[in-house]
C-alpha cells in the first residue's frame, strides 16, 4: 500500500516505490527524509548533484540517462567528478533512480 512521509506538520504521499506522488511538495527537509529512507545522509556533494539535476530538469524538461547525467556533471564540476564511479559513490546501487527519488523528480522510465 501507499506509504506516507511525515515531516513536522507535513504529510507527503509516496508511491509504492517510495517516489513522491506530488512533486510540488518537495523541499530540502523532504529530500533529507527521503535520503534517510535510503540510508543516506546528504552532504554538500550530494546537494551539488541534486541541485544540478533539478535545474537540468527544470530547464530542459528531461530526465537524463545515467550516461548523460555523468556528462552533465563533468561539464559543470569538471572531469574529476564527471565519472560514473563518483555518482555511484554518492548514490549507490541504482544512482539515477536514487537521485531522482531524493531530488523529487519523476521515476525515470527505462526506455532501453
Amino acid at each position: 500500500m501507499s506509504n506516507t512521509l511525515l515531516i513536522k506538520d507535513k504529510q507527503l504521499k509516496l508511491d509504492k516505490n517510495g517516489y513522491l506522488q506530488e512533486l510540488a511538495g518537495w523541499d530540502k527537509a523532504v529530500a533529507e527524509a527521503l535520503a534517510n529512507k535510503e540510508g543516506l545522509a546528504l552532504g554538500s556533494e550530494h546537494w551539488e548533484l541534486i541541485h544540478l539535476l533539478r535545474n537540468f530538469h527544470q530547464q530542459s524538461g528531461l530526465i537524463p540517462s545515467t550516461r548523460v547525467l555523468v556528462k552533465l556533471i563533468a561539464k559543470e564540476f569538471g572531469e574529476e567528478k564527471g565519472k560514473s564511479a563518483y555518482l555511484m559513490s554518492l548514490f549507490p546501487d541504482a544512482p539515477l533512480k536514487k537521485i531522482c527519488k531524493i531530488a523529487g523528480l519523476p521515476r525515470p522510465i527505462n526506455c532501453v
Binding site: Q59, G61, C111
Partner: protein
Amino acid sequence: MTLKNILIIIRQAPYSSLLPAAALDVLLTAAAFEQPITLLFMGEGVQHLLSAQNSTGSGMKNISKALPSLELYEVDQVFMEKDALANRKLENEKLVLQVESLSLNQIADAIEKADQVFNF
C-alpha cells in the same frame, strides 16, 4: 554494433500534435544507442525553435526547452529548412538554439544519405 544514420524531421507545429514530442523521444533513445543522428526542422516545424514559448498550465510538453541540451546527448547535427523562418516572417525572432539552414536540395541529400527517416 551496426550504426544506422537516422534522420529525424519535425514538420508539425508545436502543440497541434503529439508527433514532435514523439520525434524527440525517438531521437533521445537513438542517441542512447549511440546512433548517428541528424535533426531537421522543416515547414511549420521551425516554430519549435522560437524561444518565447510558454506552455505552463496547458498540460502540453514544450519540447523546445530540451533543444539546447541536445549537445549533451551528442546530437550536434541540427538543421532547419532554409527560408522556413523568413516565409513565416519569423527571421527576427529569438531562437532557443542557433541552427544551420539547409536548402531543399541539401534536404534531399540528407534524406538520401540517411538509412532511416522518421518524419513527424
